[in-house]
């Protein structure tokens, strides 16, 4: 079906809008049912889109019938449809968790959640760089409001930093776009990729300025080193379903880096070929280092998971810096794994902190859990996945990244840092696990509530994804290799998307 590629944007938009209108807006239970149905629809249509892309190839959807490069086009290729499916699955699991009661903390949780998903899916699917900016803003404004969902001093404080940083980021994004439009005369990514090779002299320098401004903006979203300070506090203070959904937000930044600096400023960009690589190398390595330090310094399990997000961002940036098909393929696999595993840990951390009374999620002696076996099992799975121990998906993802290094210099830098990062996670998780599960005093807290059945289902689905990623590892890595090949092949990722343009 030709309209399948716009469904991931339309479904959340429609469901979000319906939930703002009476009678559904008045009743939280009907909002919950609508949200579950909406995310289920989204999941089905994303899976159908992925299947269609896999059998029939890339889909170009010209909005309003205006052909690219004059109109805005949605491009559903293997990478974007994989990430849209990932978003849909994450949204479904997180929504299952949220309907158990976390959505009651403030008004409009369900519509905002839907609008955020719409923004994320739009950012993955669009083929126009200004449209990417618009979808960034859609997902950001929804995330601003979701972040202060359920209120509290810490949330306001974190939200203030997050909002101001991202507003400055949006301004820089527009400056970068203005420069690129002024030099290239187009905003369609495929068209830009073709035209950028012809730039020379001072125009090329100007375009380079714009391109590197965009790197700053994407780096801010992806928590690249100097711009990562907002992340631990924001993720640790957000309410659990929001933090779990935010696990995909850094990946939007990473995806944009891959899309822009592989397709537009990639190998075929003439004077501007691979301009981001010299910047990405030190930033990626330093991001892994600072994440590792953060893991050691984390006082609670939410901060620990936020710092693990920084390590995974750093590893993905290192893949972007290696800049080869194997690295991109490894990054895609690792992206799917780390999004689902860290979202699972954020949700699990919330269940734990609700059962520990005043100790919340901090690593201190506390009352025992109500459901120690269930939580212990979940904690063990997510810890194994995030550390990167066999037999779960983190191991496979990290092996793929390590194998993707090309020269001995790259190996010398990437291997120790990623392995030390894993060791740090191992130490932090062992310390966390012994304190959380074995150092108890007193009896079960009176106000502790056992996890509800939908919460367990949501976490269970997220954690189940890790073994599934290993069992079907061969098929999935073959798919990511094809996707990476498509991204690195300028013929497929640029010329084929513009009807009437030949190389």
């Amino acid at each position: 079906m030709q309209h399948l590629s716009i469904f991931p944007i339309l479904i959340p938009l429609l469901f979000g809008a319906i939930m703002l209108l009476p009678p559904i807006s008045r009743d939280i239970n009907s909002q919950r049912i609508t949200s579950i149905v909406g995310t289920l629809f989204l999941l089905i249509s994303s899976a159908a889109l992925l299947y269609q892309i896999n059998t029939e190839g890339v889909q170009l959807y010209a909005l309003g019938g205006w052909q690219a490069p004059f109109g805005i086009a949605l491009v559903a290729d293997k990478i974007s449809s994989l990430l849209v499916l990932l978003t849909a699955f994450l949204a479904f699991c997180v929504m299952l968790y949220a309907v158990a009661g976390q959505d009651k903390g403030g008004a409009y949780f369900h519509p905002l959640f839907m609008f955020q998903i719409m923004g994320i899916n739009g950012a993955f699917l669009t083929g126009d760089i200004f449209n990417l900016f618009v979808f960034f803003e859609v997902l950001l404004i929804a995330s601003y409001a979701l972040l202060i969902h359920a209120g509290g001093k810490q949330k306001t404080q974190a939200a203030l930093h997050y909002v101001i940083l991202n507003l400055v980021g949006s301004s820089l994004f527009l400056f970068g776009l203005g420069i690129l439009y002024g030099t290239l005369g187009t905003l369609n990514m495929a068209d830009m990729a073709i035209k950028v090779g012809q730039l020379q002299g001072e125009t090329a320098t100007l375009a380079k300025t714009g391109a590197l401004l965009l790197l700053v903006v994407f780096g801010l979203k992806a928590a690249m080193l100097p711009m990562h300070f907002w992340l631990p506090k924001t993720y640790a203070s957000a309410s659990a379903p929001v933090a779990a959904l935010f696990a995909i937000m850094t990946k939007v930044g990473i995806y944009s880096i891959f899309r822009v600096y592989t397709v537009i400023f990639g190998d075929d960009a003439g004077e501007l070929a691979n301009i981001a690589t010299p910047w990405l190398w030190p930033m990626a390595l330093l991001t892994i280092t600072i994440g590792t330090i953060g893991v050691f310094a984390s006082p609670g399990i939410k901060t620990l998971s936020a710092n693990l997000v920084i390590i995974s961002s750093g590893s993905l940036l290192a893949c972007a810096a290696i800049n080869s098909e194997a690295a991109t393929s490894a990054a895609l696999y690792y992206m799917v794994h780390s999004t689902l595993a860290s979202a699972g840990l954020f949700l699990l951390a919330d269940v734990m902190s609700r059962q520990r009374g005043k100790a919340e999620d901090r690593f201190v002696r506390s009352r025992p859990f109500v459901q120690p076996r269930l939580l212990g099992f979940g904690f063990a799975i997510s810890a194994l996945a995030l550390i990167g121990m066999p037999p779960l998906s983190g191991f496979v993802g990290k092996i793929m990244i390590l194998q993707a290094t090309q020269s001995s210099a790259q190996t010398m830098w990437v291997w120790p840092l990623i392995l030390i990062g894993s060791l740090a996670a191992l130490i932090a998780f062992s310390r966390a696990g012994t304190t959380l599960f074995w150092r108890h005093n007193g009896s079960v807290a009176a106000e502790a509530e056992p996890a509800k059945i939908t919460e367990i289902m949501g976490i269970g689905l997220l954690l189940l994804a890790s073994p599934i990623l290993v069992v079907f590892g061969g098929d999935i890595s073959e798919f990511t290799q094809q996707a990476a090949h498509h991204l690195h092949d300028i013929q497929a990722s640029a010329y084929a998307l513009l009807p009437g343009v030949a190389q």
Binding site: Y144, T156, Q157, I164, V168, S171, L174, G182
Partner: protein, 121 residues
């Protein structure tokens, strides 16, 4: 014309960045507003500056590029909404945290032992 225009954009950006780096939310919001003005002017100029050129074909001898104008319109709408949100958030932070500092706590003044601060301390 180009020189004057570039100077205006540069001045607005410089003031915007200076104010956005200040410690109080009010000046930060003003800084963000100036920055968004600067960016709107900048985007408008990305289609080159021309005199007596309409964006509609046939209305004038030369024609100007209509796309930057559409981009500016989008940027203005988004920038306006974001500024409104930032203002409300700043007021909420003032109410929740008890002061208008972006970090939620007032930095310690030398010789000021009994500093009054809100936030989670």
């Amino acid at each position: 014309m180009e020189g004057l225009y570039a100077f205006c954009v540069g001045l607005l950006t410089a003031c915007g960045i200076f104010l956005a780096l200040r410690g109080r939310t009010f000046s930060v919001v003003i800084g963000l507003t100036l920055l968004s003005y600067a960016v709107n002017l900048f985007l408008f100029a990305s289609g080159r500056l021309k005199l007596n050129a309409a964006a509609v074909l046939g209305e004038s001898e030369q024609y100007s590029d209509p796309l930057p104008q559409a981009l500016v319109l989008t940027a203005i709408v988004i920038g306006f909404a974001m500024t409104a949100f930032a203002v409300i958030l700043a007021m909420r932070a003032r109410a929740d945290l008890g002061n208008d500092h972006v970090d939620g706590t007032l930095p310690a003044q030398p010789g000021d032992a009994s500093k009054k601060s809100g936030g989670s301390q």
